[in-house]
Symmetry: C2
């Protein structure tokens, strides 16, 4: 008697789902069973949304935030933003957290990660050359480091402060109002607002 299993398309989707972050084998199977049953009407919408993500979303070559294909960058190309003030963040999602706090009106620079020798993340893996070029070209007067308060965030902040000060620009960082050990992802907007206002110069 051969062992019965789901048809190949179901197995393939379970394989695809269970390797997504935060989904294990059991929750992936339950999700696919839901899509085969009560959620059948949602399969098309999900597939379409994934297709649109691939086709219509790009990344701004300057700041590193997301961009709808063909559109100008909502941050870099906004006429009212202060082009001499630049805020460095780890990830694109951090831009939304800072915008939500309404404490910052300058430009952003998404690093794409933080230095981590244990995970083999070195300065050349982050968008640091682009940062130095933009600071020079835009004649930025202050760079605000809005990195997480964990060990890798501290290491990255200290490294960036060193290379940026060599170029003669003032470097500040978010005030230590942020909870220790946490990234921008885990704090509320008021905390971000206070941290932005209390930022201190790195000497």
């Amino acid at each position: 008697m051969p062992l019965i299993d789901y048809p190949a398309p179901i197995r393939e989707l379970i394989v695809q789902m269970k390797s997504l972050p935060g989904l294990g084998p059991r929750s992936a199977e339950r999700l696919v069973m839901w899509l085969m049953g009560r959620g059948a009407g949602r399969v098309g919408g999900l597939a379409k949304a994934l297709g649109e993500l691939q086709e219509r979303v790009g990344i701004c070559g300057e700041c590193g935030f997301f961009l709808q294909s063909g559109d100008p960058c909502p941050l870099c190309d906004h006429p009212k933003r202060d082009r001499h003030l630049m805020c460095v963040v780890e990830a694109a999602a951090d831009v939304l957290r800072l915008e939500g706090s309404r404490a910052f009106v300058g430009l952003y620079h998404v690093l794409g990660g933080k230095l981590s020798p244990l995970d083999n993340v070195t300065p050349s893996d982050l968008r640091i050359d682009d940062l130095l070029r933009r600071v020079r070209e835009l004649e930025v007067t202050e760079v605000i480091l809005a990195l997480g308060a964990d060990v890798e965030g501290e290491v990255t902040a200290n490294y960036l402060a060193d290379v940026l000060r060599e170029g003669g620009v003032m470097v500040t960082r978010l005030a230590q109002g942020m909870p220790a050990g946490g990234g921008l992802d885990h704090v509320d907007e008021l905390t971000i607002f206070q941290a932005m206002n209390g930022r201190r110069r790195m000497d």
Copy 2:
């Protein structure tokens, strides 16, 4: 200053993801951010797998298990299975749990749920008419009720035992080796094996 948000395709995918069972707004956002970054190579595969699910998977009109379009049912059309023995389960996933225990070689019947007055699930919402027709047509001699040991499972088992016995067929159920309050989803294969072997007749 307008509030910055993700481009529309990203927002749309977050909306789609966060309404899936087991995914909240935060985990949906993190998942989409992962797909925009390190997981970019996975977007196409996921969209394709969802499309295949929609196009190539159907449900067997007899047993209710999944079927690859165009193929015969791997259960109903298998020549070596005992066609006079029928096992009733709540959901298609339960078939795999029972097959994994290798304790059963008859046919299956997927009910598609269990009776639940609180959720407005009545006998007409389940595949009970199909079950009675198959039992009659196939001249089934024993129907094994492999339903969860929770309240709705008990109610469903008692209801089915009543209508099936009227037709003169023997009705058995899985032995109460199963943990109280749990469905087939939560037990290991050995427990299912013991429960199948110790099944008892309903009088």
